[in-house]
């Protein structure tokens, strides 16, 4: 699973893997990223991940040929890292008051709200990378039955902490923003703190599990904020 190398501008390049989004691909991406940082850390200003990509922002263009040479001689299989076993437990209150589209989405899927909640919270999701908003996690693993096209007219304001479904993805809005996903619940947990050296708690490769909580538990956690637990 060797990526293709593409230069975009003198300082920005990208590695692309032409395979389906999976844990295995993520494992290759993260291992590759680690190796790249080890080899060229001083020349790299920033690395950004996508589902099938890793982009590199270089300090100077002169290092490009070296990176290409390194890629040609690299053996990705030999330095493969394991994905983290850590699973973060995110309390979510699935209800009409905290997820205004829950009722309609269940109806649209011809299932009960309880079934929708149980399908959404049954298995953990894999965190691939952050994007869209500061602290927004791109998660993989939404059951096929829950895939839903995005709203044709986005909502002007989605409340902070909203748990939502859009296309083949699910996610949590770390801040209030406009958004086109279907809102099914809300977490009282804070997902992003700009005053911390590392403003998020979970890293790419770790997993996220949604734990259904009652509105009372939700209100209490809102009043007494807690850091999320992991297992």
């Amino acid at each position: 699973m060797k990526p293709i190398f593409k230069q975009i501008s003198p300082l920005i390049s990208e590695f692309v893997w032409n395979s389906a989004i999976s844990d295995e691909l993520l494992q290759y991406q993260l291992s590759f990223k680690e190796q790249l940082q080890k080899e060229f850390g001083r020349e790299i200003i920033e690395l950004r991940m996508g589902f099938k990509t890793l982009s590199v922002n270089l300090a100077k263009p002169s290092v490009l040929p070296e990176i290409e040479n390194w890629l040609n001689s690299s053996k990705p299989e030999e330095s493969l890292l394991c994905l983290s076993e850590k699973i973060w437990q995110i309390p979510v209150c699935y209800s009409r008051d905290t997820g205004r589209d829950l009722e309609l989405l269940a109806k649209h899927k011809s299932i009960s709200q309880e079934e929708l909640i149980s399908k959404h919270s049954r298995s953990p999701y894999r965190l691939h990378f952050y994007g869209f908003l500061p602290g927004f996690m791109y998660l993989n693993g939404l059951p096929k039955e829950l895939h839903t096209p995005r709203k044709s007219i986005p909502d002007r304001a989605v409340p902070v902490g909203s748990v939502a479904i859009g296309g083949s993805q699910t996610g949590i809005y770390p801040s209030s923003s406009p958004g086109g996903w279907h809102l099914i619940g809300q977490t009282p947990i804070s997902l992003f703190d700009p005053n911390l050296a590392i403003p998020v708690f979970a890293s790419a490769g770790e997993r996220i599990e949604f734990i259904p909580v009652t509105i009372q538990e939700f209100e209490q956690l809102k009043r007494h904020p807690q850091k999320p637990n992991f297992r």
């Binding site: 952050y130 869209f132 500061p134 992003f192 998020v200």
Partner: protein
């Protein structure tokens, strides 16, 4: 050296006034946009002429009709748009170092050319620094855009500027420049031949949908590229939406996106683009 803090008070401002510097580098991995000055060339020029550090923060002004007051002495410098500037109700030439005295009033009137004005101040604005940058951004800094009554801190400066016979020259020709140098984007090869020809030959119009996040162009292009798995994007990335719209990402853009990235604007051309107004025309030139 003990430095006294002074404040710039916003008496009146249009939308889109913010503190900006070189931006936040290294935090895209947490979903944080780069931010920083839209027209990096003007921003650097301002700091250079004030003998500031390159990383010092300036005020970025995106609308005419602004009135500010300084509560203590300093030096300022304006660059970017060509604008009508009044100091204590007297019309002045806007290009040169201005000595500011206690309670001086500065008014920024019509923009004659360009669309973004930079106000640099000796030693830079001293608003909060978060993630190595003072650039304002929603959810990161306390302020996102300046409002009437806001006070922005700076260090008082009593230094008298050393005048030279020649005034620093600023080239206004860049406002007339309509050619935008672009690299082919990662998804350029997925475009059909006809679309590529159209992109290279058509004249495009800057639409009214223009802000610190993106500039949308008016003309639509046929798009047959399917939506793709979310991938990294940068200031300068040109996206082609499923509806055929072209969106040029600017400094406050998201760090990832799902639309095909057909072009990438060169750094120099991005500063030129930042000074364009709605209805102005541009052409892309591939490099």
């Amino acid at each position: 050296m003990i430095r006294d803090i002074g404040y710039l008070k916003i008496m009146r401002t249009g939308p889109g006034t913010s503190v900006q510097d070189l931006g936040r580098v290294g935090f895209a991995q947490y979903g944080v946009p780069v931010s920083g000055g839209l027209d990096m060339r003007s921003l650097s020029w301002v700091n250079h002429l004030l003998k500031n550090k390159a990383s010092d923060a300036v005020l970025e002004i995106c609308q005419p009709g602004m009135k500010i007051q300084f509560d203590s002495p300093t030096l300022i410098y304006l660059a970017g748009t060509k604008a009508e500037i009044k100091l204590n109700e007297q019309l002045i030439s806007s290009y040169g170092i201005l000595e500011i005295q206690e309670n001086d009033l500065l008014e920024i009137g019509a923009f004659l050319q360009g669309s973004v004005l930079y106000l640099g101040i000796k030693n830079g604005f001293q608003s909060e620094k978060i993630m190595n940058s003072r650039s304002w951004f929603t959810g990161i800094t306390t302020s996102d855009f300046a409002k009437k009554g806001d006070q922005i801190p700076y260090f008082t400066n009593q230094e008298v500027p050393s005048y030279t016979a020649s005034k620093a020259k600023w080239n206004f020709n860049r406002f007339a420049e309509g050619i935008i140098a672009v690299y082919p984007g990662p998804e350029w090869e997925l475009l059909d031949h006809k679309s590529r020809i159209l992109i290279e030959s058509l004249e495009f119009t800057i639409s009214n949908l223009t802000n610190r996040m993106a500039i949308q162009l008016t003309e639509l292009l046929p798009n047959s590229i399917p939506e793709m798995a979310t991938a990294p994007v940068f200031p300068g990335t040109v996206q082609l939406t499923s509806g055929g719209k072209l969106i040029i990402l600017m400094k406050d853009a998201q760090v990832t996106g799902g639309y095909p990235r057909i072009l990438h604007v060169s750094e120099e051309a991005l500063s030129i683009l930042a000074q364009k107004n709605p209805q102005q025309k541009i052409r892309f030139r591939l490099i």
